[in-house]
């Protein structure tokens, strides 16, 4: 369960700070599409994690 507690803490932290994170993404200095680029980056990480996953892992 150790790893799940870490994941839980991480998710909670991201959740709590998510408005600030989004404010940073959408600050006027950035292009209007920058939130999408960062979001796409997250998806790429998700894809990479799924791709390198052991096929036997459930």
């Amino acid at each position: 369960m150790y790893i799940y507690r870490l994941v839980f803490l991480l998710v909670l932290a991201i959740y709590i700070f998510s408005p600030n994170i989004l404010d940073w993404w959408t600050s006027p200095e950035n292009a209007w599409y920058s939130p999408y680029i960062i979001w796409a980056g997250l998806i790429a990480i998700g894809f990479w994690l799924e791709w390198r996953r052991d096929p036997n892992e459930f």
Binding site: M1, Y4, V7, F8, V11, I14, Y15, S18, P19, L22, D23, W25, T26, S27, P28, A31, W32, Y33, P35, Y36, W39, A40, L42, I43, G46, F47, E50, R53, D54, N56, E57, F58
Partner: protein, 986 residues
């Protein structure tokens, strides 16, 4: 730009017919199965989540709170990116126990019908608002396109089409075994249409209105207010609430649960969707700001909620307008179909079946199908009613917020399923009820303008469109706190604890090994026929047997327990887990427990661990390796071993036990000792029950041959293992027993030999005396009669001396000290000498000896004694041969051995005599012809020379005649300088 009402209706109808067509050809199997079950199709079908939010409400929200609209997409994207720890466990449980909805999951985990019913009520109430939102979006968009159309007519027609679709393609699954592939593909198509329409509109606006990215930047730079350029800061409260609701949506929204888990083709597809769905939602969200700015730039006449249509209209493109309308229609219809279907299943399992289990229906599957269809119709018309009375007065965003806040109440319970085994049904129900009450009082009643209790009571905070999120959090917090407190303070039942363990992450269910009342699968059918009817009971039992790959008639207790679990899982897919569990518990009961506790089902656990092998890592993996090592040790133990539970059930049966008994482990493990063949059953059962811990040399006849077995028993219980049972070792002593017999035989022969030698020595002296007296007698008389008698006496005493000499020779066996004096001997020379000696006798009877031994065949030995061997063998061969027969002596080298064969043409030796010919005093010759010591002597001399002797009879199998005596002696290999000539010269 307006459309005519019939034209719009026709377009809607054509689109829905296209959807029907896609579902229909999929169900007919026209499309390849690999396409239908492709992860891409699955991922697209999950796009049902967005509903009309994607097309209309997102733009409305973007106009109000800038990028805050992304919360609706980012929350669920987070949930999917966390799929390995959040969604996979739920899918594992759902697949293992055939749980088709969240209500099923709750009813199974919290072992309470009330939990399931409460989830159904909560989902039903919340979903009505969501369905109303879809109907509203479709009717409003239709009235925007064709202002002369009655919105009510559109709502009713749309609802009827959805009901028809859901009835036709959503209730096909009668036995919980196949996915609704037609439905999945149609929903995936819906998602594709939605995405295409939005991207097209976004592209047209970007390049048609703003002249590309550069133009857009210039246009944005001209906008001074943060609202118009979407750069206002996020409102923390509503953002967090929406984000949380969206995150929870992955688990608690009925349509999402249905699509993610019930229609999932494979775990791989979910893994792909973990990034596929976020990507799809990203693409859906990308055109939203563009549509908003396009609407503002073109001064669209509609409200921001419907900018998708307003902008297309302002662009003056009827095709684009129609496309956006169709996109909205497809989004709404997809969400309605799936959520209605999911809700109908929940209502059926948790509201209808607990009240009325079908008993007398001829075909229970048919009955279930029709009840589900009626429920689908009832739900959609309830949504329509809700829409007509309340929903149409509320705006889209608040309808969505109310609906999702209600569903959010299910999140604590859902997370508890995977992460909190201590949570129990009392806590869940208390938390859920308190959360729902707050939700109804602070959100549902005020916003539906029914009764605003808070205002009535003069509360400091009155719910409105800007602070609804505070009440969402309040209801959720109360829910979580009550759930936790009540769970901690109250106790869970044992049944609930075991379900919690089965559901918690990485846990194995550890069922108890209890005996069922039913003793065979036929009993199952009989017992299940009471609630289900004979034909359904038979069908279900046969299906479960086939799934477990068991024979048609099963009697093994372990397999019967598996069968019971399987039947429960299958019935759970059909009737919901609560009804199925109740039915199985009542009609497929266990025998009352004999003692306080029963043993764990070791075999079940072992099997489950085997399935888990690839998933165990770290310490668990090491422990599993250790377990496998010890298991292998036991299985490969060279002593037959089995272990037996307290109730006489066989738990282990190792490889040597299989070899000894000829019964495979698969056939008996999990069965009672009683199920073994009678002789084994009598032996093992008797020994297992008895007091004695060892039993020696028990004779058991197997396949007509006697076997002698030693049995040993030890109790299994110990300080670390309190369960009863015993381990039984069965030693096969047959070989030892036969060796012992042989030893006793040899010992007997040896004593005969010693006796003979003693007798010979004692008799020798008087015989010598008699011979001397006869000699003296001859000197003292001239009487020819007396002389003749004396001569005869002397002849007979010589004869006695010869016999005694043979006896003495025979007794001189086993004296290997002679080996030191052994010298290389040429076999050919020995044989020739023996032939010469035999030819002196008058009994040669014309028998012809042929010596084919090669000159260089040498052995190390005593030449005189070897000559004795050949004399005996050749004399026997001669005696057996017919007149004029031939005795053939051949020799050759076989590796390190010299093989000498003496073959005659006699009648051969009968098989029954072959075993005795080397015994002393055993002879087949007539009296006075042989002493019965010749071959015994040969045997002992060959033994002295470290060789062996073998007799084949008949030697000539075709004619059935002849005997071949084969001697195998260690050959002598002359070294350089150590040649035979030295011996020949001596």
């Amino acid at each position: 730009m307006n459309f005519s009402a019939p034209g719009l209706l026709l377009a809607s109808l054509l689109y829905l017919i296209l959807l029907f067509g896609i579902a229909w050809i999929t169900e007919k199997g026209v499309l390849p199965r690999s396409w239908v079950r492709h992860p891409l199709v699955y991922t697209l079908s999950l796009g049902v989540y967005a509903g009309i939010w994607a097309v209309y409400a997102a733009v409305g929200m973007a106009a109000e709170s800038g990028f805050g609209f992304l919360a609706y997409y980012l929350g669920i994207s987070g949930a999917f990116l966390l799929a390995p720890v959040l969604l996979n466990p739920v899918m594992r449980i759902g697949r293992a126990y055939q749980l088709t909805s969240l209500a099923d999951l709750f009813a199974y985990r919290y072992r309470s019908q009330w939990a399931g019913t409460l989830v159904t009520i909560c989902s039903g109430t919340a979903i009505l608002a969501l369905l109303s939102m879809q109907i509203q979006a479709v009717s409003t968009s239709a009235s925007l396109l064709a202002p002369d159309t009655s919105p009510r007519l559109i709502s009713v027609l749309f609802s009827i089409t959805v009901v028809l679709f859901a009835m036709l393609f959503g209730t096909r699954r009668s036995q919980g075994s196949e996915n609704h592939q037609g439905l999945v593909l149609a929903i995936a198509f819906d998602s594709l249409v939605k995405l295409f329409a939005l991207l097209t509109l976004g592209g047209v606006i970007l390049f048609g209105v703003f002249d590309g990215l550069g133009g857009l930047e210039t246009w944005l730079a001209d906008r001074t207010t943060p609202v118009s350029s979407m750069t206002m800061s996020i409102d923390d409260g509503s953002w967090r609430a929406l984000m949380l609701m969206s995150f929870a949506g992955a688990l608690v929204l009925p349509h999402m649960y249905h699509m993610t888990f019930s229609e999932n083709p494979s775990p791989k597809a979910l893994a792909k969707a973990s990034w596929g769905l976020p990507l799809y939602l990203l693409l859906l969200g990308l055109p939203v700001p563009l549509i908003l700015w396009g609407g503002q730039a073109l001064a669209a006449t509609t409200g921001p909620d419907f900018y998708a249509i307003g902008t297309a209209q302002a662009l003056g493109s009827p095709a684009l307008t129609l496309l956006m309308y169709i996109a909205g229609l497809s989004a709404a219809s997809g969400l309605m179909i799936v959520s209605t279907l999911a809700l109908a299943g929940m209502v059926l399992n948790h509201a209808v079946l607990p009240l009325r289990t079908p008993k007398d229906q001829g075909d229970i599957y048919h009955w279930l199908r029709w009840v589900k269809r009626l429920l689908i119709a009832a739900i959609i018309f309830a949504a329509l009613l809700f829409h007509e009375t309340l929903g149409k007065n509320l705006d889209l965003a608040i309808l969505g917020a109310i609906s999702l806040s209600g569903m959010l109440q299910l999140l604590p319970g859902a997370l508890g399923v995977i992460y909190w085994p201590e949570g129990n049904r009392r806590g869940l129900i208390a938390g859920l009820v308190s959360g729902l009450v707050i939700w109804v009082v602070t959100l549902v009643l005020p916003f539906s303008h029914t009764a605003n209790l808070l205002e009535f009571l003069g509360a400091p905070l009155i719910p409105d469109y800007s602070n609804w999120h505070i009440f969402t959090f309040a209801s959720l917090t109360v829910n979580v706190v009550v759930f936790a407190l009540v769970s901690v303070l109250s106790t869970s039942t044992a049944e609930e604890a075991s379900a919690a363990e089965a559901c918690s992450l990485g846990a194995l269910s550890r069922p108890q090994r209890r005996e069922l009342l039913a003793t065979s699968s036929a009993d199952f059918v009989r017992q299940l026929a009471v609630p289900l009817g004979i034909s359904v009971a038979r069908r279900e039992v046969e299906r479960a047997l086939a799934q477990l790959k068991l024979p048609n008639v099963e009697y093994r207790p372990y397999q019967l327990r598996r069968l019971r679990d399987r039947v429960e899982v299958n019935l759970s897919g059909l009737l919901g887990p609560a009804v199925a569990s109740d039915l199985v518990k009542r009609h497929l009961g266990y025998k009352p427990m004999a003692s306080g506790g029963t043993a764990q089902d070791i075999r079940y656990v072992e099997r489950a661990l085997g399935d888990y092998q690839n998933r165990l890592t770290g310490l668990a993996g090491e422990l599993d390796n250790l377990r496998r090592h010890y298991r292998q040790t036991l299985h490969n133990l060279p002593i037959p071993a089995c272990s037996v539970g307290e109730d006489g059930e066989i738990l282990m049966w190792n490889n040597t036990m299989e070899a000894l008994t000829g019964i495979t482990a698969d056939d008996v493990v999990g069965a009672k000792l009683m199920a073994l063949p009678e002789h084994w059953h009598l032996l093992l059962d008797d020994f297992n029950r008895g007091e004695e811990l060892h039993r020696y040399k028990h004779r058991l006849d197997l396949k007509g041959r006697p076997h002698w077995l030693n049995l040993h028993k030890a109790a299994l219980s110990g300080p670390d293992h309190t369960e009863g049972g015993s381990i039984i070792l069965v030693e096969d002593q047959t070989e030892t027993r036969l060796l012992e017999d042989e030893l006793m035989h040899s010992e007997r022969l040896a004593s005969v030999g010693r006796l003979a030698a003693g007798v010979a020595h004692e008799i020798g002296n008087p015989v010598t005396g008699i011979s001397s007296l006869a000699q003296n007698l001859k000197l003292e008389t001239d009487d020819p009669d007396i002389l003749s008698t004396a001569e005869q006496i002397q002849q007979q005493t010589r004869r006695i001396s010869t016999i005694l000499q043979s006896l003495m020779n025979f007794a001189r066996t086993g004296n290997h000290a002679h080996a030191n004096r052994y010298e290389p001997v040429a076999i050919r020379r020995c044989v020739n000498e023996s032939i010469n000696l035999l030819s002196l006798s008058d009994k040669s009877m014309g028998v012809h000896f042929v010596n084919d031994c090669p000159e260089d065949l040498l052995i190390l030995g005593d030449e005189q004694r070897l000559v004795q061997v050949f004399i005996n063998l050749l004399a026997n061969a001669r005696d057996a041969s017919p007149i004029g027969g031939e005795v053939h002596i051949s020799g050759n080298l076989d590796g390190y051995s010299a093989i000498i064969e003496v073959t005659d043409e006699g009648p051969g030796i009968p098989t029954e005599q072959l075993d005795h010919i080397f015994e002393p005093f055993y002879t087949t010759k007539a009296p006075n012809k042989g002493t019965g010591l010749g071959l015994s002597l040969v045997y002992s001399i060959i033994e002295e020379h470290y060789g062996n002797i073998q007799v084949d009879s008949p030697a000539n199998a075709d004619r059935g005649r002849g005997t071949c005596v084969r001697l195998r002696l260690p050959a002598y290999e002359p070294d350089a300088g150590n040649t035979i000539s030295q011996n020949q010269g001596s």
